[in-house]
Amino acid sequence: MRYWCFRSLALGAAAMLAPAAAWAQSGEPQLVVAVPSLPTPKNVDTGGGQTGVLGIQIAQLIAADLRSSGSIVTIDPDKLRRYTPTEASAPLYRNWTNANAGALVQGYIQARDDGRITVVCYLYDLKTRREMTRAGFAVGAEDWRRAAHRCSDTFHKAITGLPGHFDSRITYVAETGSRMQPVKRLAIVNWDGTNHNFLTQGEGTVISPRLSPDGQRIVYVSFTGGMPHVRVMDLDGGNDRPLLAGPPAMSFAPVFSPDGRRIAFSMANEGNTDIYVVGAGGGFPQRLTTAPGIDTAPSFSPDGRSIAFESDRGGTPQIYVMNSNGSGQRRISFMGGSHASPAWSPKGDLIAFSRWNGATLSIGVIAPDGTGERMVTRGWQDERPSWAPDGEFLVFQRTQQGTGVAWPFTVRLDGGEPKRLAIPQPGSDPDWSGASQ
């Protein structure tokens, strides 16, 4: 799949970003965005459907995306007037004054000679009557959803100043079979449940997948050969190999650094588990922790300079933070109970975790300096939080009491009811990919 963008206008969009961001943060009522159907110059049958129909579906999807972010209200296509493709780049502002909206989405969809489609989308400020941003993509007709999601991401960034998560993907472990003889397969899916694919076929037990920042590789733990160990493979399933050469050692809890060049992980030896870091291509690992006890679940800060991790050196598992060379190790979680699986937010301001209070496991967040700890979910067993690229949503694994069946759920950081990920079967260990490139 290939995309093309209006790079020449990126500067203009960036210049308008600042006032737009202030708009979202000023505590004013939410921004109302009108999303009429995208027109098409000629209704053509494509692999994804007729372009006229796709224009309606893309507009509906953009409206649904923007609405789900919480700070935006949308007016959907069926309540709005239609316009022509030539209007897309030159809106007739006076015709939209009755829409009672603050912003307007326009654009068009066109079939190309090579079988693909062109999707172009614009966002206009109806008060100042100026363009806020635009984006355009040439995609396979069956990938029209991705084009719509990427329009939404562009708009979300222009309105809130933060990248959206609409084109992001979630990798996880699909679970079938019985609890005592589970079949575990790596899978990847768009966050909205579309484009579901298996990456392994259940020949061996696999856990803990994490995507690389560029979304091209995946690091995970496999039990093949009888010893759990970290492996790396390309997203198309090729190039599958152990991270470490040499005799088998028990390694697990892998994660990529934000620049994708390093992988941090845990290695266990004689009852002592420590955190190591190694180049993403392998090599000799550098040991970062030496405390007797269990040091595991590393997570890099977005600037790559710090690592949050879990350690039971103080008696119970708690969250610690250190510099990425292992220096300056300090505990940050003190609220009682135990804390596990830290995940540093892409904005850098929070660390999500899973807290055991003696009866339940739930997801919470804490600032990297240890202040402001609060809980986000109230499940019976919620674990393994992972952040959406916008830093506003979390995906986590929720396990049902009694049956032990687990599903990935997403939740807004500011509360609200967690939503089950729309996947074909139960799953565990979700990991949300970074912002699309």
């Binding site: 589970p182 009852g271 588990t273 269990i294 699986s341 496991l361 674990e383 396990t399 049902q400």
Partner: protein
């Protein structure tokens, strides 16, 4: 051939029988190239039944978060060590597990720590270190399909799993391998 089939049936059925079959003592593995008659593959379930009979159990259990061996575990492991010393040709995999209420990474580390505690005790009791290897399954292989807090005790465990020994290198010609006696 008929006799072989009968043997196979008997041996394979052995673990299902409540009373473990009596066992005649340690068995030498077959040299490479020998016909796979009653080889170590078949012997493992019988050996495990014997270990369970002599040591009381192949499993020791732990409290939540704990890797401390209880007095009951020590009794079991002392008997397991005696058995392993008597069977120097049997390789043992010490497999640690944690319960499902642990997070996945911590469960893996805790399982390894429990397995290491068991291995260290067996070595201290005289078992040669090279006879033992450890592995952790974390929370990937529960013994109970139920999923609630009562499963802690069942799933927080270390199991001594007997394995086919690696093919030994024989410095000199071996005597002909002996088939197990009739009625075995």
């Amino acid at each position: 051939m008929k006799r072989l089939l009968l043997l196979l049936t008997l041996v394979l059925a052995a673990p299902a029988v409540a009373q473990p079959q009596s066992y005649q003592g340690p068995q030498r593995p077959l040299p490479p190239g020998a016909p796979p008659v009653a080889g170590p593959v078949i012997a493992i379930p019988v050996l495990e039944a014997d270990l369970r009979a002599k040591a009381g159990s192949n499993t020791v259990r732990f409290a939540r978060d704990s890797y401390v061996l209880t007095p009951q575990s020590l009794t079991t492991l002392t008997a397991q060590a005696r058995w392993l010393i008597q069977h120097p040709f049997v390789q043992a995999s010490i497999e640690g597990h944690a319960d499902g209420r642990q997070t996945r990474e911590y469960a893996l580390a805790l399982g390894e720590r429990r397995a290491a505690a068991v291995r260290n005790y067996l070595i201290a009791s005289g078992v040669p270190p090279q006879q033992l290897e450890i592995v952790s399954w974390g929370k990937e292989r529960p013994t109970s399909a139920a999923f609630h807090d009562a499963t802690w005790l069942q799933n927080s465990r270390v199991v001594t799993v007997l394995k086919q020994p690696p093919q030994p290198v024989y410095p000199m010609p071996l005597p002909q391998p002996q088939l197990p006696p009739q009625g075995y």
